[in-house]
Assembly symmetry: none
Homo-oligomer: 198 residues x 4
């Protein structure tokens, strides 16, 4: 690990590496010593950059969201037609399936944590507030409900990973979602049918 002089930059570098650590062990199971060891620093150093375990976790969640939003935007920037956007969107999700799965684990852990003391600002609420319009925008679908449907289903696929059914693999699920979506759009948004060929 190279010594990065800038305090804030180093903090973010540490945060990056925390993602897998938290995803693999879980927030309450992982210890500060394990985190420190995983990052290759001492506990003292860890506390030099973060005030508490909780703070690391929160900053991690915040960081993740920010990063994701940016990445999605940049990935989608060049897509023009709706069918192109949908195709790219699904590819994006498929490519990052492992990441989304780990994120789900982190989010549920986070949810359990914050519900204990309710006076905490809920970062998760902001997640969906910001992600949902993004999905609408990406897919070029006007009905927000439908955009949310896609989002929800992707979450569902992530969850289904924990059951470990080999049948339930990510890509097959996505294929079916796509077919569902088209069937629905053809039926309820005929305008979609006229303009696009998938």
């Amino acid at each position: 690990m190279p010594k990065i002089v800038d305090h804030n930059q180093y903090r973010q570098a540490l945060l990056d590496q925390c993602f897998d650590l938290f995803a693999e062990k879980g927030y309450s199971t992982i210890t500060m010593r394990q985190i420190a060891a995983g990052l290759g620093v001492s506990t003292g150093t860890l506390y030099h950059y973060f005030p508490s375990k909780e703070a690391i976790f929160e900053q991690l969640v915040e960081e993740m969201i920010q990063r994701d939003m940016l990445q999605v935007s940049s990935e989608m920037a060049t897509a023009k037609t709706t069918s192109d956007r949908i195709k790219r969107g699904f590819e994006f999700v498929e490519r990052k399936q492992d990441y989304f799965f780990k994120q789900l684990l982190i989010f549920t852990d986070y949810y359990q944590q914050i519900r204990q003391d309710s006076n905490q600002p809920n970062v998760l609420e902001r997640v969906c507030e910001r992600i949902q319009p993004k999905i609408s925008e990406i897919l070029g679908i006007h009905d927000p409900q439908v955009a949310q449907f896609v989002f929800t289903f992707v979450d569902g696929i992530c969850v289904s990973q924990i059951y470990g059914c080999n049948a339930a693999n990510f890509s097959t699920h996505l294929q079916l979602l796509l077919k569902m979506l088209v069937a629905y759009l053809e039926k309820y948004e005929p305008s979609f049918l006229e303009t696009e060929k998938l």
Copy 2:
């Protein structure tokens, strides 16, 4: 506290009450003392009925699955037509939305737990192995993929609860799923259209 004669019966009674406790606090967050207090017994008594915290959790998961399977079967017993089955199925899920949400939290907790020592028999695998055919049977849908789709989506709705978006409420989600499903079945399983009116 009266002396309960049947050891096994009392054990199950305690298990029932554990569900909410685990769902609210999370497996690793809740302490044995808290569980004992929640059940109105001493820690000693708790250990008289369960060898460890882990054992309580596993027995709880097993018990839950068994109970759910039985309940679903009995609820669906009298439904005859496919549309009737679908309607009842969705009603069932909607009615127990709170329960399913808590179950999701418990399951993700459980997943994080067992992945640590991988040589453990995975109860979750059995969950989906047994639930999936049940759903096919209930909905009267031949394509197992589609049945799985419904299951996965319901999981997705549960997850979306953690984001706390007021928009994303359970019932609305289910409505949309139903519409999607019908649109899909009409397109790809025309036989469905002929026999049923939803």
Copy 3:
């Protein structure tokens, strides 16, 4: 286990079986449940016959001593000459080597226990007070020091068992003790030489 009507007799029957249990696990390591299980009774029954774990232990020690004194006396009753007494005495020790070893473990455990609260009557003191003259009597040796020497050495052999050296086996040790003893008696108690042939 046959039901013995007499309370006291049953108590002693239980006590007998406790010897091996305490010897194998150690006083502080063995639990009342393990004792109860080993005796084939419930903990409730155990407490019906003994007020506490400590009491079982003390009664066991007392019982053991009583029994040993009686047995030694009866075994030696018919021996007439000194050499005969010595021979029999050594045979007796050799035959019960396993028993004496376990007794040592129990005695050291007991010692650790009673030294904590010093106002307890020390049963062990009575052990040597009563055993020592017995040995003098058995061996027909006038010098009490020498009798004590034999006693002490036998204890030493018991201890050496814990080192597990295969070299240090009980019988060989006893042989040497015998030779030592004779050499000593020949040198310092010439009267011994005149009257006996070993």
Copy 4:
């Protein structure tokens, strides 16, 4: 409490102080809190230096043996004649009688502990394997059996302490052992008689 730089050195310093603690209370009776208090540190610190109570105990036993071997060697280094060696050897034992007694208590405790799980490497076996030749060397006695006899008897004296007989004091016992030994050597190893005057 000053920060001690050398981790290993401090660990040994703690170990030293543990000897009396274990000897006085016994392995299973003493608690980690009591040990910590006795050492003047917190339980956390104790666990910082030793992974478990068992580990402290084992390290203590190992340490003891090492130290004893070294000390004996250095004490005996300047003794030339056999009678000088025997005299010094007996003085050494007498001087450290209190230590040897405590060691016996610790060893029997240790024995009870390891016999539970038999796959443990037995440190006690190594004790006698290394001590026995040492005694032969010290006393300059060729017959290993006789050396072992002395060792065993010293153990016996230690045990006899637990009976608390005031008669059975350490020094008197040793005197008699010496006389026995000489009588035996004179009878069976006449070469001994020729060269030495005790």
